[in-house]
């Protein structure tokens, strides 16, 4: 049941518990309880809005950074990943299979600021073997949303 509620909220955080109740057939009281529970145990981490910053004049540069790490005895990658996660410019931290260990999504005001972040903050952390930084040049799709949808409504407005 919680999955149905979460799927709706993930798609549009503005949907009210009353609307969720109608859509799912779950009672409003139960919906409220499920949401409260999910907020408490951090199944729901945050309610946010997905913005296309390219449309607004805002200084923002995104980078994907591959990080090679020396895993620590017993804790493995967890400790270093947590330390990196605390850095405010870091939006996401993933442990991934492949030629590197951690993948970071980093957002800062300019390429220069990201370069500084890598050379002065990231590289100095214990256990970092090396980094490869990829600057995002253009975004086509973000979090399931195609940025440039082309011509609007493609359907005939009235079809019998």
């Amino acid at each position: 049941m919680i999955n149905k509620v979460l799927k709706i909220l993930e798609n549009d955080a503005r949907v009210s518990p009353r609307q969720i109740a109608t859509m799912t057939g779950i009672s409003p009281a139960e919906v409220a309880r499920l949401i409260k529970q999910a907020e408490a145990d951090r199944t729901i981490l945050k309610y946010k809005t997905l913005i296309n910053w390219d449309k607004v004049e805002d200084e923002q540069v995104w980078a994907l950074i591959e990080v090679k790490v020396t895993p620590e005895p017993e804790v493995g990658f967890d400790s270093i990943a947590e330390r990196i996660a605390h850095l405010p410019q870091v939006r996401s931290v993933y442990l991934a299979s492949g030629t590197y260990d951690l993948l970071l999504v980093v957002v800062d005001k300019s390429e220069h600021d990201i370069a500084d972040f890598v050379s002065q903050k990231l590289s100095h952390l214990e256990g970092i073997q090396g980094t490869v930084t990829h600057f995002v040049l253009k975004r086509y799709k973000e979090d399931g949303e195609v940025l440039d949808k082309g011509a609007g409504e493609k359907r005939q407005p009235v079809v019998l």
């Binding site: 609307q19 109608t22 009235v158 019998l160």
Partner: protein, 399 residues
């Protein structure tokens, strides 16, 4: 001068066939023109999914074009598609249709309906159908020189068709019963017992049943009952099905007819002269849909269901009382809280609040007093439309 005008008039009157002249012009032409001149309208008048055809289906068709599959197929449709369809229908409906001889791939259910009527009707043959119903039903019967016979349905019986009402209209000219459930415009779904009762009437009077089941996958709260799967009904049913609504493939124009060898042979005879074969790339897309589209169908149906609940509650809350539509993607609320006709309501709502709904009267005289609201549109648009409709109803409701 007068003599020349008369002969010109005569020529003009004779230019268009009588059967074409018999067709009612679109009941919503004026409404449609008005809508086309406006901006910022939320249209609940759409009649197709807001989803795009799932990507892997589109990709398969694109690849086939790149690889040069741009030629005719067999008149009956691609053998691989018919084989896959035969298997699909066996699993879904429990009815076995031989891929060679009992299935015909058509240009949408639209063509299949037209073929069925032209294949079975002689001039003056009567076809019994529900009122209100999809606008093509009467038209296809008339074009085949048949006579449509309407059976009123109402909100009181959830717009379901009663066997007794059908039986009461049978004459010695009745050839067939035309069913379309789940229904456009009402969203009605026929319960199994009522279908069995209709089957009994058809059996007793030796009538054909043409069953348009294009919305077969869009059933909420229960399973769809395939008419051909009812005991003894396979041979007397012309089962019309398609991909438009379930797989969001309206623009591809691809569907099928499943019936006895005799009927399919007759329909194929017409089809081979008029259409030759359905679009090849659409057939390839349909094959992919059957093979790999199931999870997409389930996701889309779950989505429609949520929006259905939202719109039905919303309409009832406003005072536009709406029975619960268990199929398709239409709600069919009553507008009796106002004293307007369906046409007036729709036009005024469009002009005053920029919300488009379709007057129920466009679908038959029993649709008068109702409007059709399609919920195959975003949550945000449904919510906003309801807000505007509430304002409208509050301004116009009877004292």
């Amino acid at each position: 001068m007068a003599v020349r005008q008369n002969s010109q008039q005569k020529k003009a009157a004779g230019l268009i066939s009588r059967r074409t002249n018999r067709l009612s012009p679109s009941g919503i032409r004026k409404f449609f023109d008005l809508l086309a001149s406006m901006e910022g309208v939320i249209s609940l008048g759409v009649g197709e999914p807001d989803f795009t055809t799932p990507w892997q289906i589109r990709e398969q068709a694109i690849r086939s074009i790149e690889e040069g599959y741009t030629h005719y197929t067999s008149n009956l449709g691609m053998p691989e598609l018919r084989k896959e369809l035969s298997q699909h229908l066996k699993e879904r409906c429990g009815v076995e249709y031989q891929s060679d001889g009992e299935l015909l791939i058509t240009v949408g259910v639209s063509e299949a309906l037209d073929l069925a009527m032209r294949a079975i009707l002689n001039p003056g043959d009567e076809v019994i159908m529900p009122d209100p119903c999809f606008v093509a039903y009467e038209a296809c019967v008339i074009l085949a020189e048949g006579e449509p016979v309407n059976v009123p349905t109402s909100r009181e019986n959830s717009f379901e068709l009663d066997a007794a009402d059908v039986a009461a209209r049978i004459t010695d000219r009745t050839k067939a019963i035309l069913l379309g459930f789940p229904a456009n415009p009402t969203g009605a779904v026929m319960p199994r017992e009522k279908l069995l009762a209709i089957a009994e009437v058809a059996r007793r009077h030796r009538l054909m049943v043409v069953s348009d089941e294009i919305y077969d996958r869009l059933v909420y709260d229960g399973e769809h009952n395939y008419f051909a799967s009812l005991p003894g009904m396979k041979d007397s049913t012309v089962f019309l099905g398609g991909f438009s609504k379930a797989y969001a493939m309206t623009g591809w124009r691809i569907g099928y007819a499943a019936a006895s060898k005799e009927i399919i042979a007759a329909m194929t005879k017409i089809h081979q002269y008029t259409m030759m074969s359905a679009s090849t790339m659409a057939q390839i897309a349909a094959l992919e849909a059957l093979r790999a589209g199931e999870s997409d169908v389930l996701e889309m149906v779950a989505d429609y269901n949520q929006r259905r609940k939202l719109i039905v509650k919303g309409l009832n809350d406003i005072g536009l009382t709406c029975f619960e539509p268990r199929g398709a993607f239409y709600a069919f609320p009553s507008i009796e809280i106002t004293s307007m006709t369906s046409d007036e309501f729709s036009e005024k709502l469009l002009v005053e609040e920029k919300v488009a709904v379709v007057p129920g009267s466009a679908f038959g005289s029993c649709g008068e007093g109702y409007v059709r609201c399609c919920y195959a549109t975003s949550l945000a648009e449904i919510e906003e439309a309801l807000v505007r409709m509430k304002r409208f109803v509050n301004r116009h409701k009877k004292a």
